[in-house]
Amino acid sequence: MSLAMASSAARPALSPAAVRLLLGIAVLILWEALPRLGLVPQLFLPALSQTLAALVGSAAEYGAHLLHTLRAIGIAMLVACGLGIGLGLLIGSVAPLRRTLQPLASGLYAVPIVILYPLFTAWFGIGPQSKIVFASVYGMLPCLLGTMAGIQTIDRQYLTVARSMRASRWQVIGRVLLPAAMPTVLSAFRVGGALVIVGVVVAEMLTSSEGIGYLISRYRTLLDSPHVFAGILLVVLLVVLFGALVQQVERRTAHWRFSTRSGEAG
């Protein structure tokens, strides 16, 4: 008796990962059961099987629109993350620039970027340009802020060491700053990239004639819940997949990061 209690206190019956798996399964079962049993109206929450059926049944349509969305995402990501990370590296490594621009950038982050979208559609029309511009702006600030912060947290000792070896300015940037900032740059890319993906889809939801977001909005006005959920599911999968991909790269480059930093040794 007391033995059993002791062991159960020391080690819960299930590992957290197992409980998470069970929770996930429970959510899937509820997703199927609640609408089927009529406990939740089908309009609010279409059953899982219906959602998947909608996705498979209209696979060709989703696929065609996904292509448009992906193209816009690709371009916007290049612009947002390229500009954001590039400017972040530049501003972060030049102290006077950083001191003046960093507060401004994080102040501008407070502006709800969505309100710019009507302006972009007025300027660029409802074609792909306006959603690319919107998603680029939407994803750029987190990239910029994250990279700047990453550069700032780099141990100054690393730079002193490089100077003691007479590294040139470019060698310092390429061989020290960049690798040291890599983990933070990648996590900035992860946040910014997710925003770019959703930025494109949201722009399509608001005003557009093609893309996954457009499909979601069209099916919403038709009150076709399974197709709406199928579209959302697709986008969520896209975001999660992107996040997992970047995390994989992060893990490969950053295996050293979660251990000692100079100043903590000893």
């Binding site: 998470r20 102040g107 407070a110 502006v111 709800p112 997710a194 925003l195 959302i232």
Partner: protein, 259 residues
């Protein structure tokens, strides 16, 4: 002491100057693009006219009514999401077992931008005040949860142990050890929560709504009323930045003992 005060005053002045510089640069680029014909006045009305429109908007009852609707939604969502998020965050952190289970889930959901779920809220709640508030809460609560996790993590167990050794009561520990350590992070959470909240609610209004600032902005865009649209954008941006800077100023005051 006096020197430190002067330094922080100088920094604040510097911050103000760089904001003035930024506004000046935007205004200059704005006017220059008109002079050099990059933009036409139809697409980008002169800045003076837009500012005049902004001032006149502030006197229009219809505009003020929209502001009132949005403000009400934002405040109600905020008043629900922040206490709820903090309470849930603390409750989850209370058990190391449940935080091992739930924290990864919270972080996963946090990493998915919430705006994509907006159509689900419309299907479930229709288009009304409750739906906007619900979406605002949903957009906000995960950042509050995560902030309260890290707020609790920031409390040093050494400090708690010292307080306990000197016979502090649980309440005294909560107020005199936990609160000062957590305050900066919780303030940061409030600031970020407001950003997420405002974005969520404006989007909800733009997407499908009969009232509110977001709806107004969207309809100005559709009808090519660029003077009003730009004036509205400037007003919202200015309000958001002012709120943000105010909280940051307060954060800096609370954080003087750090670093």
């Amino acid at each position: 002491m006096a020197a430190a005060f002067r330094r922080s005053a100088a920094r604040r002045l510097g911050g103000l100057l760089s904001w003035i510089g930024l506004v000046g640069a935007i205004a200059a680029a704005w006017q220059a693009s008109l002079w050099f014909g990059v933009m036409t006045p139809e697409l980008l009305p002169p800045i003076g006219e837009v500012l005049a429109t902004a001032v006149s908007l502030l006197g229009r009852p219809a505009f003020l009514a929209s502001v009132g609707v949005t403000l009400a939604e934002v405040l109600v969502a905020f008043a629900i999401a922040v206490p709820l998020g903090v309470a849930l965050g603390f409750a989850i952190s209370e058990s190391s077992y449940w935080s091992a289970i739930l924290k990864p889930i919270v972080f996963l959901i946090f990493s998915i931008p919430k705006t994509i779920f907006l159509p689900m809220f419309i299907l479930a709640f229709g288009i009304n005040f409750g739906q906007k508030v619900g979406f605002g809460v949903f957009s906000t609560i995960f950042i509050v949860l995560i902030s309260s996790f890290s707020a609790l993590d920031s409390v040093k167990s050494d400090h708690v142990r010292v307080a306990r050794a000197y016979g502090a009561s649980p309440w005294q520990i909560a107020w005199r050890v936990y609160m000062p350590a957590m305050a900066p992070i919780l303030l940061e959470a409030v600031r970020l929560a407001m950003i997420f909240n405002l974005t969520g609610i404006l989007l909800a209004e733009m997407y499908a709504s009969r009232a509110g600032l977001g709806q107004l902005i969207a309809s100005w865009g559709e009808n090519y009323m660029l003077k009003e649209l730009l004036a509205g954008i400037l007003l919202i941006a200015a309000a958001a930045i002012l709120f943000n800077e105010a909280v940051r100023w307060f954060e800096a005051r609370c954080e003087h003992w750090r670093s």
